[in-house]
């Protein structure tokens, strides 16, 4: 199964995009959570504050489906 991870600028260098400037194509097994997939590709889930999929915020236990695009949001705390 393939999913696409997309990351904003502060996470981008950690994600190592390969599809375009923002996106990395990841082959994984169906049924795995985003947290598990992140670990599989060597990206510490602690760098991700939350994710969103199809315009809705999800937590890292979300299980993506074939072809879905998952946006990873790093912590943003400044003011």
């Amino acid at each position: 199964m393939v999913v696409f991870f997309r990351a904003g600028s502060e996470l981008r260098h950690k994600l190592q995009p390969d599809v375009d400037f923002y996106t990395r194509r990841v082959e994984t097994q169906a049924g795995k959570s985003v947290k598990d997939i992140l670990r599989d590709i060597g990206l510490d889930p602690a760098f991700v504050a939350f994710i969103y999929v199809e315009g809705k915020v999800k937590n890292l236990d979300y299980v993506p489906t074939e072809g879905q695009s998952v946006t990873l949001q790093p912590p943003v705390s400044g003011g």
Binding site: G8, S9, Y22, V57, S77, G78, G79
Partner: protein, 243 residues
């Protein structure tokens, strides 16, 4: 609350905007937590717009490293309390409104005094601990909380109003590690602060805020805006008991 002739002249260009309610703005009060990059920008435009009472709270003093983005301060402000400088600038910008200032640290106990009686809480903070205190106050007192944050090229703004919407703790874990000083380019907090000010004005005039229960995520590097829905977390440690 009626407007003087002087006020009508000052606000003439915005009085013609459809659905604009200047008298309602004059009667409104906002609590702005932090007057740095976000809060300073928001405060300036809320003052110019004529929000009747603006309470600003910040314990920090102006540091030279603030001056790439914090528009209320200049070289001469270095070392001064931000609220003193900001209060003076805002009163100069609009003498028809009331500016209240405090340099008391923002925490769970002090908020009961600092935010008492306001219509809206606007987040201009730079740390998560105080943000979670604001969030708890918002949940406890049902005061809407206009969240904003920036880092690097990214910023976000959203409006929490529990129990109608999710709260900050539904979205973020309070255990999340935050950097003590985040990198940020000058325009970013200005952009996000103006988005916050726009949402604040609509809410204060009784117009439907577009970001109620939503988060707008802006990436200045890519020039993208993502709008996402924030769902309530039924197991939220802060708002799940609120009805």
């Amino acid at each position: 609350m009626s407007l003087s002739e002087r006020e009508k002249e000052r606000y003439r260009r915005q009085l013609g905007v459809r659905s604009w309610d200047q008298e309602r703005l004059k009667a409104a009060s906002v609590f702005i937590a932090g007057v740095g990059g976000l809060g300073g920008t928001s405060a300036l435009y809320l003052a110019l717009a004529g929000v009747g009472r603006i309470r600003i709270v910040d314990r920090d003093r102006v540091d030279p490293s603030n001056l790439n983005r914090q528009v209320l301060y200049g070289e001469d402000s270095s070392g001064c309390l931000k609220v003193d400088e900001a209060g003076r600038r805002l009163s100069e910008a609009n003498p028809h409104i009331i500016i209240e200032t405090s340099s008391e640290p923002i925490g769970r106990e002090s908020l009961d005094r600092l935010a008492a009686g306001v219509s809206l809480i606007l987040d201009g903070l730079d740390n998560m601990e105080a943000r979670f205190a604001l969030n708890e106050y918002s949940v406890r007192h049902r005061v809407p909380y206009l969240y904003g944050a920036v880092c690097g090229w990214q910023g976000m703004v959203g409006l929490f109003h529990p129990p109608v919407t999710a709260c900050l703790a539904c979205l973020l874990s309070s255990e999340q590690e935050a950097k003590p000083e985040v990198p940020v380019f000058g325009c970013l907090p200005g952009t996000v602060g103006l988005l916050q000010a726009t949402e604040a004005l609509k809410y204060l005039m009784g117009l439907e805020p577009a970001l109620l229960g939503k988060l707008l995520i802006y990436d200045g590097r890519d020039m993208t805006f993502d709008l996402v829905d924030m769902a309530k977390n039924p197991a939220c440690p802060v708002c799940s008991g609120a009805v």
